[in-house]
Subunit: 341 residues, 2 copies
Amino acid sequence: MRAVMMYGPGDVRVEERPRPEILAPTDAVIRVTATCICGSDLWPYRGLEPLAATPQRMGHEYIGVVEEIGAEVRNLTAGDYVVGSFVASDNTCEICRAGYQSRCVHQVMMGAIGTQAEYARIPLADGTLVRTPAEPTPEQVPSLLAASDVLGTGWYAAVAAEAAPGKTVAVVGDGAVGLLGILAASQLGAERVIAMSRHADRQALARRFGATDIVADRGEAGVAAIKDMTHGLGAHSVIEAVGTQGSMEQAIRSTRPGGHIGYVGVSHDVTLDGAELFFASVHLHGGPAPVRRFLPELVELIWDGVIVPGDVFDLTLPLADAAEGYRAMDERRAIKVLLTL
Amino acid sequence: MRAVMMYGPGDVRVEERPRPEILAPTDAVIRVTATCICGSDLWPYRGLEPLAATPQRMGHEYIGVVEEIGAEVRNLTAGDYVVGSFVASDNTCEICRAGYQSRCVHQVMMGAIGTQAEYARIPLADGTLVRTPAEPTPEQVPSLLAASDVLGTGWYAAVAAEAAPGKTVAVVGDGAVGLLGILAASQLGAERVIAMSRHADRQALARRFGATDIVADRGEAGVAAIKDMTHGLGAHSVIEAVGTQGSMEQAIRSTRPGGHIGYVGVSHDVTLDGAELFFASVHLHGGPAPVRRFLPELVELIWDGVIVPGDVFDLTLPLADAAEGYRAMDERRAIKVLLTL
């Protein structure tokens, strides 16, 4: 089968690899029908994060059809259309039952397996995969694929930030996760959703996803703008979807005392000052999103046409052109790239 | 009147000072009937924090009798017995109404006024002071005084850590706040409350306040002990009541994914690693405790004899002997010192 491999910074190739097989009786193998490139894939692409192997399999987002199941898989059969999270989880352990499937005691990171490929082995298939009601239409595919990570992660950020009716939510980061955090905050009933973005195309998408206001300023000026819009108090809720020192500080300083920060940008070289955090009096919660917690609800919202998160994909390429997809995202020519199979 | 003044590290004196007067129409002046020395007073005493002035007035905990009120004070009259928080707050602004009176938009830190004195001016008296049902008995005084900060702070930590039935709560720090965090967690119905302490007298008090288990190990060994007691997962809730790098790391590493940390130890030279916090997947909330939020409930629990937080005072001295009180706490001969007037 063909699979995307990264050999080093800027070096992505599509190569022939052995088709995955069932290794554990709880595994399934799916035929991937769509996958995509994640903002987090850009960290090693830009040389800002080491590769786990050379070459490294890539991809952790996927939608597909069950091809084969292990002997202990109970809830799936070949032919089922499924979507799963970027973390495989048993969905039965104490941590999963508390809603933190991304920290399942048996968790397997799908990125280590690689889903930018024609087939993928899915560990803990019963716990990990969620069936769609039927074969999705071509229009539904991008939205269901988005649920696999960026929508689920943005949704988690909005939940962690306690976006809700009557609240003002500020969103730091206008990548796919930030944009879908806007969609989530809006769906969760937030009164005001402030997108922090300086790119016209992303501002437009933010509006479409429910942003009521746009702030183009960053850093201290961005914080001041949020304060100005909230009687000097700061936002009730802030979604942080970048993962840098600047974005975390912007998030903390934009939040009112007692407010909530949902942070989902994978943290890179961030150190938080204890005293600043202490006197900020905010709630801080985040980390790798337990997407599985939200998947059944998200699939339903997509199926019913209530949300169209697939609009976040602004470039679609065949898997064979994955290298061009990475370049487009790296050069910010694309927000998020869908790869067809 | 006599008041406690700090001239520098280790140099505490009781001196004659002018009696405070009403400055704003929302002020009250109270005759202090009992006050105490706080663990946070030891930071400047030990030279680990600069003095705000030389000499600096000391004290922010108090119970007393209203002596005089300003023209705009509506809810109090001379002769009322009152307790208040270490932060004066209007209790009407948006932040107060959200339960964060310690970050009131008009907040005044009582430590800047000094309550280790015969009289104290209380700003924003209507918002700050809570009346006791009647004149307290001598047995009730220490408990009501504890509500002013250490009980209120420990209670807030337990609430921030979401201590509740069915949960295991670990408490980092065996000072007065940590010990009263144990009392709070127990009152809030926690199934298991683990006190982290290596001092026999504090362990005994922890047991009296509701600790079900004691862990004497600290640092990584302490974390390992908590993991061992929780199927390798970590505690659901952790109260942090120290404020050092080590105590924060111990708290973060002792908490299970999805668990809650309530941190109330005033942060000193702490930096948190963003990536560690991200992958810990914990909820982090704390800061200066909004004691005023809890005061009515705490006064009632004390009045009804449900809780006896005053047991945390293990040394009582007249105000004139404040210097000895500071020495006793600095040398760990006393957990917390009550000063009588």
